[in-house]
Assembly symmetry: C2
Homo-oligomer: 490 residues x 2
Amino acid sequence: MAKDKKAPRPKAQTPKGFRDYFGAEVTERAEMLATIAGVYRHYGFDALESSGVETVEALGKFLPDVDRPNEGVFAWQDEDDTWMALRYDLTAPPARVYAQHRNDLPLPYRRYAMGPVWRNEKPGPGRYRQFYQCDADTVGAATVAADAEICAMLADTLEKVGIPRGDYLIRVNNRKVLNGVLEAMGVSDAAQAADVLRTIDKFDKVGEAGVRELLGKGRLDASGAYIDGVGLSEEQAEPVITFLTSKGADNAATLENLRGAVGESAVGAEGVTELQQIADLLAAQGYGPDRIVIDPSVVRGLGYYTGPVFEAELTFEILDEKGRKRQFGSVAGGGRYDDLVKRFTGQAVPATGVSIGVDRLLAALREKGRLTSTEQGPVVVTVMDRDRMADYQAMVADLRQAGIRAEVYLGNPKNFGNQLKYADKRQSPVAVIEGGDEKDRGVVQIKDLILGAKMAENATLEEWKDRPSQYEVPRADLVAKVREILDLYS
Amino acid sequence: MAKDKKAPRPKAQTPKGFRDYFGAEVTERAEMLATIAGVYRHYGFDALESSGVETVEALGKFLPDVDRPNEGVFAWQDEDDTWMALRYDLTAPPARVYAQHRNDLPLPYRRYAMGPVWRNEKPGPGRYRQFYQCDADTVGAATVAADAEICAMLADTLEKVGIPRGDYLIRVNNRKVLNGVLEAMGVSDAAQAADVLRTIDKFDKVGEAGVRELLGKGRLDASGAYIDGVGLSEEQAEPVITFLTSKGADNAATLENLRGAVGESAVGAEGVTELQQIADLLAAQGYGPDRIVIDPSVVRGLGYYTGPVFEAELTFEILDEKGRKRQFGSVAGGGRYDDLVKRFTGQAVPATGVSIGVDRLLAALREKGRLTSTEQGPVVVTVMDRDRMADYQAMVADLRQAGIRAEVYLGNPKNFGNQLKYADKRQSPVAVIEGGDEKDRGVVQIKDLILGAKMAENATLEEWKDRPSQYEVPRADLVAKVREILDLYS
């Protein structure tokens, strides 16, 4: 027979912008997701899991004038030519789910969802193309009590996963107020409005003077590049400045300033009233401005928001990759999107929700040393005689029966040093040894690997002098002795 | 301004072959995954989560002579023209992971993984294009003790998730034995060998006579269609029949028969010896043939298996969609695949593992009524006066503080009947009512909705006659009274 032409070896690599997660990284995330889901459920939200794949049509990312879907999503064509894509968030799918199943679902429909989302974006340091979100949304509730509740729940959630009060702040704004400001400015062109919103979003970075420049002729940025301005007159730009500087000493003062900023605009006034109601509801439930505060500088990038918007940021400082101090920043955000379901049904269905960036939140907790991993390696039963594998398996079975995580060494047992190196790499607390001599005498050797490692680090320490790191016990006492050592370290 | 041309409304539909999962379906799966992971961890396996997306090259599904990837996977091209695809199982990815990270990982590397996988296949009843798997694999262990361990762990896992002993059976075979039989038959052509394996796989369905026909000239099947045969002579086919009918009264008898079936073949003899070792190890640990048994009819479809293969099937009968009794069938399977890592590194790295079809296992438990959902709806605080939302939120806050799942009705409160209908749809155990009159008198009304529903079903039942389904209590006693009712039903 002719030999097949040899195919070149495939590269063992994750695709660009993706990564693998090992051990504690996986279990810590699972624990955080379970904790968040617990809070959401406690608030009355029910679980929903839609698939990772949606039609591009349902996601609303299809551009009808080109034969390729929009950038930002991973998309392909099904056999029947339907464009399909991986979900890019957990907000668009439930709008589709609600529209599809609305005859069977309760109204309001309160649901939570968790899982990976995918973005077809350029990866960067710490930015991956798959990451986890954990969302809660209320569909069919027009009242801002629904928005207030989500903000309160977000505060509870952050504290529950380990961010203490004072280390986070939830800032609330309202798109209607922004629209009122644009109306007061006389901006009606959609493109120009978008430019103004983008500029407002830069306030935290460039300050009042910078925003003035960007709204007018433009600005030379720190890198020396010239950024074109929106082209408004100074007079026209004034409401934006009034708006951006309207954060007062307390919510009452901020709201008063915002009323000034929106001028005669009816939608603006409505937005301010909604913020007032949210602030009142939260105050009545004891969520003060140390946790949730009205803040006009919050914009939120996504185009689908129609009312209140909110963002949770962590307020403590971390060191960035260049060793400079900076605030950790945003870990969650959300808002009201009253038109997403309407896309499908033609009927207005109000909705509001929050999305927690679980991977960023985990990174923050890790950064602060607040993730205390519960991972412990298994007890390793070593193999001295490969023909007695059944004996070693029986030991492991005894240990597991007693609730102890344990395994037999399954690699090549020839080199015993490799077995102990393996136990070390697995962070095993204990190794068990039974050679032919021990077998004959009915005993086993039990090595305390944690003590062993400490002694290796500092062999002169007095306190360990009288403590053996290896014990010989009768085979019948294997489980009891291992348990005794594990209890020392738990 | 010219008005934008209206885009047609998108269809609110899951893509073909995908579905949404609601409430208990999601939480029951999460609980099952956590239980399985618990067993895997207990056996010493560590968590790994690779991303849903792999390069087609790493998955090994790329056909170099066409510009489209193989069928079976969902694939697309990245911006740099790299073909990417959704993973179709949890076996190919860890082979890539091990090859990529082998300098940092312990050897053997024991890992478990769980999550959705995607198949670009024709969907059918109960067959979806996204489903969950939960796998455990040991990479770098050549000993069949690793295979035996995985079979034992699979038995433990099935019992732990609620399949009692006697309702499942793990059947073990060895690809080397199959290869030995082919050698004994003188079949060396790969295509013909594949045809023979496919025929063996049909033994459960067509029986000995059917297999004889299919190995020879062919067979008229039940639908009247003629199925072409493999074209072997009767004499050539004989070892297959010997092999297929070699299952004896116990493992020892089966192994003896298999030794006959492989004749002079060295690889066949090796396979039988490995099965012997597996049976001995399992027997020593107390896993008898009531749980794990040597069975020559197990083939396993995937091409990458090289040694022991195993399959767990549920042995109880269910009614199929046409009301006929049938066995539930396979819920898990696996085997040894010694060449998957070698694809990347050129070096042989033995590996073995198991994959549990979590969604099928859930379906089986549901079918048998063994999933007792712990889901209970939230207590619903109704809204009688929309201006007193803060009062209602305060009640809910009190209930939540006390650990009770609760929410305020956030829909339009105008029609009170809708609020109770909502509570009903949410399967709420309790509704709380506070109108203006109650507010003035400092009381709340508490409705026992579970009792109410029972009374509505059968209004004449004596036992409920003296039990009220609605209580009036002071506002201060709200939490205590709700707790009292909930305790009746827990």
